[in-house]
């Protein structure tokens, strides 16, 4: 029983990261009907930006400023950097293909993905870059937190879960309570009609990429704080994020959040109660089952076309 609670906490941490990645996939698909396969690599770039900022600030062992400030700066710079990257990708790799057959931007997305991976390898080398978060404040991020019997929820996990939820709530508020959110919803519903109603569709798409990529950047830093940054890390995260988006309902923002959290929980429970070797197998089996049983995902809606 005590293990179950720990597994749930583990799953929630992992799921929070997957949810942030899944949101980017869902948002872009909702508006452009494009699977942005480069999204996982934007997440990877976010992890590297975080590493760069951390190194510039003296590293985890001797930061020039308070570790809390370092963390905030890492997140902000990674999010801004990835937002810029997202805009560039949209502008140069997808916009010219907006009216092309749907396979064209898909292939372009794959190309961008490989381009980012191997550029990162060339620029940063094949070695993994470790944040060394263990050294932050003498291990404060790992040893302080909730320690209640066999349950351990270190500060770092609390930061990740709280930050991820805060970002998700902020996104929901933006989409549901602001003019730009209304414009995004309108564009996702019917791009042509939205344009005829005076909505600057190009601007909405750019903002979508900014938000999605910024979330991926944040997710990259969160992940690398507990693991590390490597040029090919985006592939797996992208795959899991995409799976989460599909499970939740591709195109649905609440669906992406739910899908991500469920995926993380499922993975943690499979690893815990079966074995690590089964977790990926079950995760992708769920994807197949979901496509067969409920192709729109848990919270997705079927496209109804008037004839």
């Amino acid at each position: 029983m005590s293990n179950l609670v720990q597994f749930l906490v583990n799953g929630l941490t992992l799921g929070s990261v997957y949810a942030l990645v899944a949101l980017g996939y869902s948002m872009v698909y909702g508006i452009l009907k494009l699977l942005n396969f480069a999204h996982g690599d934007v997440y990877m770039i976010g992890a590297y930006i975080g590493f760069g900022v951390l190194t510039a600030m003296g590293g985890a062992q001797n930061p020039a400023i308070s570790i809390w400030l370092v963390l905030v700066v890492m997140f902000v710079v990674a999010m801004v950097g990835c937002a810029g990257l997202g805009v560039a990708i949209e502008r140069f790799a997808y916009r010219p293909l907006r009216n092309a057959p749907r396979i064209a931007p898909l292939i372009s997305a794959l190309g961008v993905s490989f381009f980012l991976e191997y550029s990162a390898q060339l620029l940063f080398g094949a070695s993994h870059r470790q944040y060394d978060a263990f050294s932050f404040g003498g291990g404060a991020l790992f040893f302080k937190g909730i320690n209640w019997g066999p349950l351990h929820v270190p500060l770092l996990r609390i930061i990740i879960i709280v930050s991820a939820f805060a970002l998700m709530i902020a996104l929901m508020l933006l989409v549901n309570r602001t003019r730009i959110g209304k414009a995004m919803r309108a564009t996702s519903y019917d791009r042509e009609a939205a344009s005829m109603m005076g909505i600057d569709v190009d601007r909405v798409i750019t903002i979508t990429f900014i938000i999605g990529s910024a979330l991926a950047g944040a997710a990259g830093v969160m992940f690398a704080l507990r693991a590390d940054a490597s040029p090919l890390m985006g592939f797996n995260a992208g795959l899991k994020g995409f799976t989460a988006a599909v499970i939740g309902g591709i195109g649905s923002i609440p669906g992406a959040m739910l899908g991500g959290l469920l995926l993380g929980l499922f993975e943690a429970l499979t690893q815990g109660y079966l074995s690590g070797r089964w977790s990926d197998l079950f995760v992708f089996a769920i994807l197949i089952v979901m496509m067969i049983v409920r192709p729109t995902g848990l919270l997705g809606k079927a496209d109804i076309k008037k004839v």
Partner: protein, 395 residues
């Protein structure tokens, strides 16, 4: 009609699955190439050695280090021997299929007289038939799977290695765990790759023979969140053994163990040996080579390498590569001397087991290969990671 078609399709799919499963039930043996490529004698001045290592990807750190030492050996030994042997570099990316393609390339090039590597056991198996048919000597500085030279899966007479195999590492690590760490319960997590499962198996057998409780688990190489596996590690576990080839993941695992308050000692195999990446204080690492910075006869050699590679540190994968390259070059030189200025692959292959080196980079002298093409008298070394990340020899 539709139902019958669907049923037929399902039967065909199941039959295909059964065939594939049957193929995987036995370890895959590559078919030998239809035509063995023979190399003509080439002038010694044109002879080349090819290094096959993962220069990029997750194990890129290993390949890059090996390459730097191979290049250094080429420079130093060419000067000492008066030869002009060149070096090709092949990136296997830890992918046996790519290694196989590289092997074909080098076999097709008549100037290639020897291979340094392949670095990993999977690549050795994949390239075995091609290199063996071409009689191209392959001297690996790091492939440690037992069955490459012993047992029913041997890859061919062309293959040699300068490092001991996992049949020694598993029992050696197990002995340390029992004798020095007094372990009663050991948790072993393999990463499903053949190196890992092989080493995990030999360690399990050795530990159980000594009355130790062994719990096995497994994780995919793409996983970096081990939280739930760590949660499962029982509180009374003495040692968690990680027979992996990715030091950064061993570091992450160790951190996640500490995060959950687990007290078991982390013990990594030689694949986790990288002071720059696996630096968790108190963890143990085994390796097939000693720390050569402590060997007096290597002082000048190390100084030269550091000069040629400013900012780098001496690791544990590089020095055996130097040794392997040295053996290959000495074999080529001997074959050249016997061949009156021309050399063939078969002649080089015949010279490899005859090579002796008085001042061997890994200590003492190089006394040649055993009948199974393994180094004579080799052993594994145990290091403890210090607070500053350095590795201290403890066993």
């Amino acid at each position: 009609m539709k139902r019958r078609t669907g049923l037929f399709a399902l039967l065909v799919a199941l039959a295909a699955l059964a065939v594939v499963a049957a193929a995987y039930a036995k370890p895959a043996k590559q078919a030998a190439p239809v035509a063995a490529v023979r190399s003509a004698a080439v002038p010694c001045s044109k002879a080349k050695i090819a290094i096959m290592a993962p220069l990029t990807g997750d194990a890129g750190f290993l390949g890059v280090e090996q390459l730097s030492w191979a290049k250094y050996a080429i420079t130093v030994q060419n000067k000492l021997l008066g030869t002009k042997i060149g070096l090709y570099q092949g990136d296997t990316q830890l992918d046996p299929a790519l290694a196989s393609t590289l092997a074909q390339r080098y076999v097709s090039d008549p100037k290639t007289m020897a291979i340094i590597g392949p670095s990993t056991s999977g690549a050795v198996v994949a390239t075995g038939p091609t290199l063996s048919a071409a009689k191209l000597a392959a001297i690996s500085p790091s492939a440690t799977r037992v069955s490459l030279t012993i047992g029913g899966d041997t890859v061919g007479n062309h293959f040699y290695r300068v490092v001991p195999h996992d049949g020694i590492q598993g029992p050696s690590d197990a002995a340390y765990m029992v004798n020095k760490l007094k372990a009663k319960k050991v948790y072993i997590v393999d990463d499903q790759e053949t190196y890992s499962t092989g080493l995990a198996d030999t360690a399990t057998v050795a530990l159980k023979a000594k009355g130790v409780t062994v719990i096995r688990d497994s994780v995919s190489q793409t996983v970096t969140d081990f939280s739930s596996i760590v949660t499962k590690v029982p509180g009374d576990t003495d040692v968690v053994f990680l027979p992996w080839q990715q030091p950064p993941r061993a570091q992450i695992f160790a951190q996640q163990m500490a995060e959950q308050g687990k007290k078991a000692k982390i013990f990594g195999s030689d694949g986790t040996n990288d002071p720059g990446k696996f630096k968790f204080k108190g963890a143990l690492v085994s390796n097939f080579a000693p720390d050569i910075t402590g060997i007096a006869q290597d002082k000048a050699l190390i100084a030269g390498w550091l000069k040629a590679n400013p900012g780098d540190k001496v690791g544990s994968f590089g020095p055996p590569t130097y040794g392997a390259t040295q053996i290959a070059m000495l074999a080529i030189k001997a074959a050249c001397d016997a061949g009156g200025g021309k050399v063939t692959r078969a002649a080089v292959l015949a010279q490899v087991p005859k090579v002796r080196v008085k001042q061997w980079i890994l200590g003492d002298s190089w006394g040649g290969f055993s009948a199974t093409h393994d180094p004579v008298g080799a052993k594994f070394y145990i290091f403890e990671i210090q607070a500053d990340g350095s590795y201290k020899l403890v066993g």
